[in-house]
Symmetry: C2
Subunit: 373 residues, 2 copies
């Protein structure tokens, strides 16, 4: 019964299990297709991808599955550019980075960063031209005009909300389903209706980061405020988490961390290994890697930047500044300098093919429902 | 079926719904007795009470119910005493407080604060002498010897854990049930296995406060690590939250905020009114009122102390320093200077007799189970 609801109906999927769109290489076409072939919804995390690469990945996905899949993009937001803070952060990284040869990119590359933001239109053009079955997005909401064009293509649109206000905003704008991202979630916060407070007001730091509402509380809030189907995300790793989400009014779930350690995931082998060996309470929220708040396993790089006295530049500037170090960490296999995004359930990761994980999740959900009933 | 489990069995209660022990006057003997008479477990939040007052309250509870009830105490912890920080905070409060006549208590009163800590032995003596049916505690764990004496009295002992490590610690020490406190919870964090980092290291502030693990993730973690019954707490306001907790392995639930607005609650009328009129996302975590991290509705006093440049003294010193202001706020009916503790579900508060709330929660739980099954 839990499989037949408004979400599976609009998405044309068999089980309401969505593989989260994780940008950065984890969501290979193989992973996306495997999840969709297993009856769930695979998602390409295309936020960092160039338009041509998105097009190529979509072709690869379509070659592997005839089922619906999703493509996810980042909605560009306002970027505060403060040349002095950027220069200071570059100096800091160049001096403190263990990768002495892997210094942050040069000042003129920052121009590219800003240019890159404007690539959203080109990324979106691919999504529109390819008439993808499902389009999901993070960090904002496309205009009504864009939503209309997507809908004219028959594309189902899903947005990410970290608060009830954001969920209401998305519904009013015309989105078809909302992904509720609880505080437990790994990776970047999808928050977008937040007044950006100055990051250097240290005493207000705790109240300054975007709202981190626990998933149970968030699902309650959103379920009562919107009519569109709600997808639960954040720390869900198995059938018990799925049943809890259903009890709180979700029509489906979106799991990211759980899919990082599947065979088809493109996550770095050391990243997979770190997750599989992790214990509870090893994650923190940080702006160290990208300038946006995100949850990941605490490591040397986070500690390094948390000890920085200055202002961390906004996303995507900080993301660009740390890219060379992250690439160096990947190349040399040093997880202590990788962005090890993980939700609060990372220690429950399992190593298996993605199709098997979907099947196990379905079995566990049905077992948990029987136990309750 | 959900009513008959190891928790209801050891507590000798009908429904696994526990009214949280909220110190500060909300848990009147009338409230405690009403919840117990309704088949749940009422709890006296006696952490701030003098031994004689605890004894008197227990007598009042026993005059109103023959059912089991609980008494909760705070386990004293290490207090850093820094005379300079204390003096600075007093100056700040005296200058900035809107209650010009309600200045913080005088320096020699701080001696009383430290004396007060030693009252734990006297508080505990009452609990032992009265052979209370259930003893619960927060901020630590009593010694094995104390647990033995409680058990010899036939008292069931429940401890509070904010992490899986704390839950394992409590089980090993010999506690009978563990209350898992999720990040959504209102009031003080029960955290005790935390290295106290210096509060003035502003850049590490986010990672410095005790772990705030979302309830869904926390229940998963604790369920897999301990054998004793687990009670879910944090943001639970209705039957959906109860069913979600059961799905995640909890045997019962503990609700605090939901009971604050019941008729028998001793919460200030303005506090009740604020809760009943509140909206989602109005809570923050702060050390402003007591020196310990706690979640409450953001107000002028929190903003005032969050803007303070110095070090907030440890609990219970800060708690003593702010008491006069809080008393003044209560006397003059100014919620903007009261500690308005609330979980992340505070906007779902309902005004009704406590017995009715228990009955409604049971009905809602059964309805939610039917919907799932």
């Amino acid at each position: 019964m839990w499989k037949n609801n408004r979400l599976t109906e609009i998405l044309h999927i068999e089980v309401p299990i969505i593989q989260a769109p994780m940008a950065g290489g984890a969501t290979t076409p193989d992973l996306v297709a495997a999840v969709s072939n297993a009856g769930g919804l695979g998602c390409l995390g295309a936020g960092y991808m160039k338009p041509d690469d998105i097009q190529s990945a979509i072709s690869h996905i379509r070659a592997r599955t005839h089922r619906p899949f999703a493509v996810n993009l980042f909605i560009p937001g306002h970027v505060k550019q403060d040349a002095q803070s950027v220069a200071a952060m570059m100096d800091f990284l160049q001096v403190k980075s263990p990768a002495k040869d892997a210094v942050a990119e040069k000042p003129d590359n920052l121009v590219n960063t800003i240019d890159w933001l404007q690539d959203f239109e080109a990324q979106l053009a691919v999504v529109l031209a390819e008439k993808v079955p499902v389009f999901s997005f993070t960090f904002g909401c496309p205009s009504e005009e864009v939503l209309l064009r997507l809908h004219e293509n028959g594309t189902i649109v899903m947005g990410t909300a970290t608060t009830v206000e954001e969920a209401v905003f998305l519904e009013r704008r015309g989105v078809d389903a909302v992904v509720a991202q609880g505080s437990e979630a790994g990776g970047h916060r999808g928050a977008f209706l937040v007044t950006e407070a100055s990051h250097d007001d240290a005493h207000a730091a705790l109240n300054q980061h975007p709202p981190f509402v626990g998933l149970m509380a968030l699902l309650e809030q959103i379920a009562q405020a919107v009519q569109i189907p709600m997808v639960a995300s954040g720390g869900i790793m198995n059938g018990r988490g799925i049943v809890a989400s259903l009890a709180l009014g979700a029509s489906g779930v979106q799991l990211g961390t759980a899919f990082l350690t599947t065979d088809e995931s493109g996550a770095h082998p050391k990243y997979k290994e770190t997750l599989l060996n992790s214990t509870p309470n090893t994650t923190v929220v940080t702006r160290a890697f990208s300038g946006k708040w995100a949850r990941g396993i605490r490591n040397d790089f986070i500690d390094l930047v948390d000890g920085y006295d200055g202002v961390i530049p906004d996303y995507p500037i900080q993301n660009t500044l740390t890219r060379t170090i992250r690439n160096w960490a990947a190349k040399t296999g040093r997880p202590e300098y990788m962005s090890l995004w993980s939700g609060e359930g990372g220690h429950l990761c399992r190593s298996m093919p993605a199709s098997q994980l979907v099947a196990v999740l379905v079995e566990e959900t049905e077992a948990a429902l029987r136990t309750l009933g």
